[in-house]
């Protein structure tokens, strides 16, 4: 104030343009307000700040807890993933074993089927061969019998027919 008062003076001869008393009262009011403010406001402010700090700490703690929980969950998930991976590997291994077994079975069955088909084919061939031979034999026999019948029939005149009847009567009567 003195320093200020030592500067360039205003219209009232002082550097403050108004009444100096007004300045004093204003300053006093300010100090009163300040004091009241400090008296009434510092406690709640501190409390608020403390509460805020506590809240922040709590939040940080909760965040830490959440982080720890999340980490735990993550670990658990990782463990589960590890289990799942192991299980998957076991399944794959079992599938491979099963596939190998099935492959062996299928190959064995295929070989068995092929062998059976081959045997059946051989049977059919032999049967066909037998049937063909039987047919040929039958045809030859039929042809021979027809030829013999034709020869016999052509040579059967009345005298021979009568002779056959006479022979029959003789044989029946004997």
């Amino acid at each position: 104030m003195w320093i200020l008062a030592a500067g360039e003076a205003g219209p009232n001869g002082n550097w403050i343009p108004h009444d100096v008393n007004e300045f004093y009262w204003a300053s006093l009011a300010f100090l009163v307000v300040l004091a009241v403010g400090l008296w009434k406001g510092v406690g709640p402010f501190k409390a608020a700040m403390a509460a805020r700090s506590q809240r922040i700490e709590d939040e940080l703690s909760a965040a830490d807890n959440a982080q720890a929980e999340a980490d735990a969950r993550r670990e658990a998930q990782l463990a589960k993933l590890g289990d799942a991976d192991a299980e998957a590997q076991q399944i794959v291994a079992e599938a491979r074993t099963r596939a190998a077994s099935m492959k062996t079975e299928m190959i064995a069955k295929a070989e068995s089927d092929v062998a059976a088909s081959k045997a059946k084919a051989m049977e059919d061939i032999n049967a066909g061969k037998g049937q063909a031979l039987s047919d040929i034999r039958s045809e030859v026999a039929t042809s021979a019998a027809n030829a013999a019948e034709a020869v016999v029939t052509d040579n059967l005149d009345e005298a021979r027919l009568s002779s056959l009847i006479e022979n029959y009567i003789t044989e029946v009567g004997s």
Partner: protein, 174 residues
Amino acid sequence: MSDAIAGYADAVLAIAKAEGDPNVEGQLATFAQAVESNEELTSTLADTKVPVEKRQQVIEDLLAGKATKATTAAVSMLVAAGRAKDIPAISRAVLSSASGERGREYAEVRSAIPLSDDQTQRLAAALKKQTGKDVDINVVIDKSVVGGLVTQIGDTVIDGSVRGRLTKMRDAFQ
């Protein structure tokens, strides 16, 4: 022999007895021979599309002057009853029954050619030696016999035919 054939045979014999006609069985056998050897005649007599009266008229025309009234009536009765195709079998049943009534055996002899009276008598004598009974012979002309004779007495068949020998030869070839 079916019951129906035996029944119609009894009916024919009843007609013959009622008319006191001993020629019925022989004339019926002759007509049966004609029916057996003539498919057209058999078809005409068995054709249900042709009115019975017309078929009976055919019989009267065929048998006019060749058969007695009783024989014509018997054949007409068989045709009217739809038994034209069975006439040969009925005739054989009539002959067999008639022979049985006379205490004789009935023999049906199949031959490719007719037998002379002498052959028929000698065959009857020869068959008597086999059966110990007098035998009435009915000769049926059957070209399929080819040569020789086939005799049937009851259930016994004496096959001395060329057809029988050819069949045996054919079987031997098979």
